[in-house]
């Protein structure tokens, strides 16, 4: 579902990713870990085509993103659910409208929107907050709205860029467990994080990035500060 081939990303002589090769299969759940500046966010940004690689190829769902025309980028992003550390909710829209926004922009009819939004909110257990505004919610609730928005269009891939960065440990664990449940329904989930607690609690695939290179890639792994090389 996700494939990177010899990907290098260079910001004016400062390499963020160096010759990265990676494959994540359909329905797989994986953590992308590493210290700040390791290249996690750069890799995520390549996947939702906010950046393009300096060299190498990025494939999502069989599509080579290097060859994607600018006007096709929105089509790609509709097939990806993206979750952000700062939630990126529309502050002047209710929870319902935040989740419904993309469906309305796609011309889905209101009955269908209501059904799909209710369903997405029930997955994140926020049906009762549909009329609330983002600033009336806790951080964990806001992130759950972000997840509901990401899954409402039924994307095959979910990318979460530091989704627990602004949350306390208990809420963080709730959020990743929620993402794990979503993955069980067949969605590919990739979470970038430097939170050792949540990674070690779930014991799923762990891809370790350091200095722009993958230094470890382990199934049922843990997040160690200096992992054994096992790519």
């Amino acid at each position: 579902m996700i494939r990177l081939q010899n990907v290098t990303k260079d910001y004016g002589g400062r390499p963020a990713l160096i010759n990265v090769n990676l494959h994540i299969a359909l329905g797989e759940f994986a953590f992308l870990v590493g210290p700040s500046g390791a290249g996690k966010s750069t890799l995520m940004r390549l996947l939702y085509r906010e950046e393009t690689p300096t060299s190498g190829s990025v494939f999502v769902g069989g599509v080579n993103l290097n060859r994607l025309h600018k006007r096709q980028v929105p089509l790609l992003r509709r097939r990806l659910g993206t979750i952000f550390q700062d939630y990126k909710l529309l502050p002047r829209q209710t929870v319902f409208n935040n989740v419904a926004y993309i469906l309305r922009a796609l011309g889905v009819d209101e009955k269908e929107i209501a059904k799909r939004v209710q369903s997405a909110l029930s997955v994140v257990s926020l049906e009762h907050k549909a009329d609330a505004y983002p600033d009336e919610l806790s951080g964990g609730e806001q992130q759950r709205v972000g997840i509901a928005r990401a899954i409402v269009n039924g994307p095959p891939v979910l990318l979460a860029d530091e989704p627990t960065g602004n949350l306390d440990p208990a809420t963080s664990l709730e959020i990743v467990q929620l993402l794990e449940r979503i993955a069980e329904r067949g969605t590919t989930v990739l979470i970038s994080t430097h939170d050792t607690t949540i990674v070690n609690a779930l014991r799923r695939r762990v891809i370790y990035l350091k200095g722009g290179e993958i230094v470890s890639d382990v199934d049922s792994g843990v997040y160690e500060l200096e992992p054994n090389l096992n790519v």
């Binding site: 980028v73 992003r77 993206t82 889905v108």
Partner: protein
């Protein structure tokens, strides 16, 4: 159906954008309405002046005096074949002599007057060309026409056309700048929202469309206000101004109100075009999706 729903949603988003803009809506519409009122006023004035000048110019005619022995009807037929000629009037030497005798006391002598043709050109600009062509005809002894007046009238017409164009261009540029800046401010204030929409995969049309429509709405609203102002001027001020002008210059036609509806149409069209165009340009420049 899906596209219709998307378009409908874009209109709703436009309404939300207008609502959020608050007091700046009034500011933009006021500035644009002033610009469009000035534009409309000047446009109507130049159109009226141009028409008055043209009407005055259309009174100009070329008088051709024929040599003896040529049939005036035949020559008139020949002249009417010239493309720029609108009308040829024959004044035979007998008619002219009778008129002269009825106006002045003349001695009883043989009729010395020639057969005359009065020729009207289709527009004031053609008078000189018609005169030149008529002069070349073998049957024509001499011609007479007000050359200087014709040239002055044409110069004035050209000046008015140029002035109208320059004023339109200047006011369009000013209007574009006002709308462009307003939309730019709106975009800046909603930059984070735009970024979110782009990351969600919302299409550029859906993101930029409401800004373009908002600009068009500003243009249409401003044009409506400007049309109302000019309409009131037309109803309450024009009769008084016409009276004053006609009393000063009696040769002017009483009905000088030319092109009012055309002016209103141009104002509305220009308002919408400039509003939508300015917004589209600004959206294209500042929204990176």
């Amino acid at each position: 159906m899906r596209h219709l729903r998307i378009f409908f949603r874009v209109i709703i988003e436009t309404g939300i954008g207008v609502k959020r803009s608050g007091w700046s809506n009034w500011l933009v519409v006021s500035i644009l309405a002033i610009a469009l009122t000035i534009f409309g006023g000047i446009l109507q004035l130049t159109m009226t002046m141009k028409n008055v000048v043209s009407e005055f110019g259309s009174q100009l005619q070329v008088s051709a005096y024929l040599k003896d022995g040529f049939q005036p009807k035949r020559v008139a037929r020949e002249i009417s074949q010239i493309p720029e000629v609108q009308l040829v009037e024959i004044v035979t030497k007998d008619v002219a002599w009778d008129e002269m005798k009825s106006t002045f006391k003349v001695a009883s002598l043989a009729n010395p007057l020639p057969n005359t043709l009065h020729i009207k050109a289709s527009n004031p600009e053609a008078v000189e060309a018609v005169a030149a062509k008529v002069k070349l005809l073998g049957a024509v002894e001499n011609i007479r026409y007000p050359l200087k007046v014709a040239r002055k009238i044409n110069e004035l017409r050209h000046f008015l056309e140029l002035a109208g164009f320059v004023i339109t261009a200047a006011l369009s540029a000013a209007t574009l700048t006002v709308i462009g800046n307003t939309i730019h401010l709106l975009i800046e204030s909603r930059q984070r929202e735009i970024e979110i929409l782009s990351l969600m995969g919302v299409s550029p049309f859906y993101i930029k469309g409401p800004f373009v429509l908002q600009g068009a709405a500003y243009g249409a609203g401003s044009a409506a206000v400007a049309i109302l102002i000019l309409g009131l001027v037309h109803v309450y001020l024009d009769p008084y101004l016409t009276d004053q002008l006609v009393s000063l210059a009696p040769f002017l036609p009483r009905n000088m109100e030319y092109g009012m509806w055309q002016t209103f149409g141009v104002m509305l069209g220009l308002g919408i075009l400039v509003g939508a165009g300015g917004s589209a340009w600004t959206s294209g420049r500042y929204i990176k999706v």
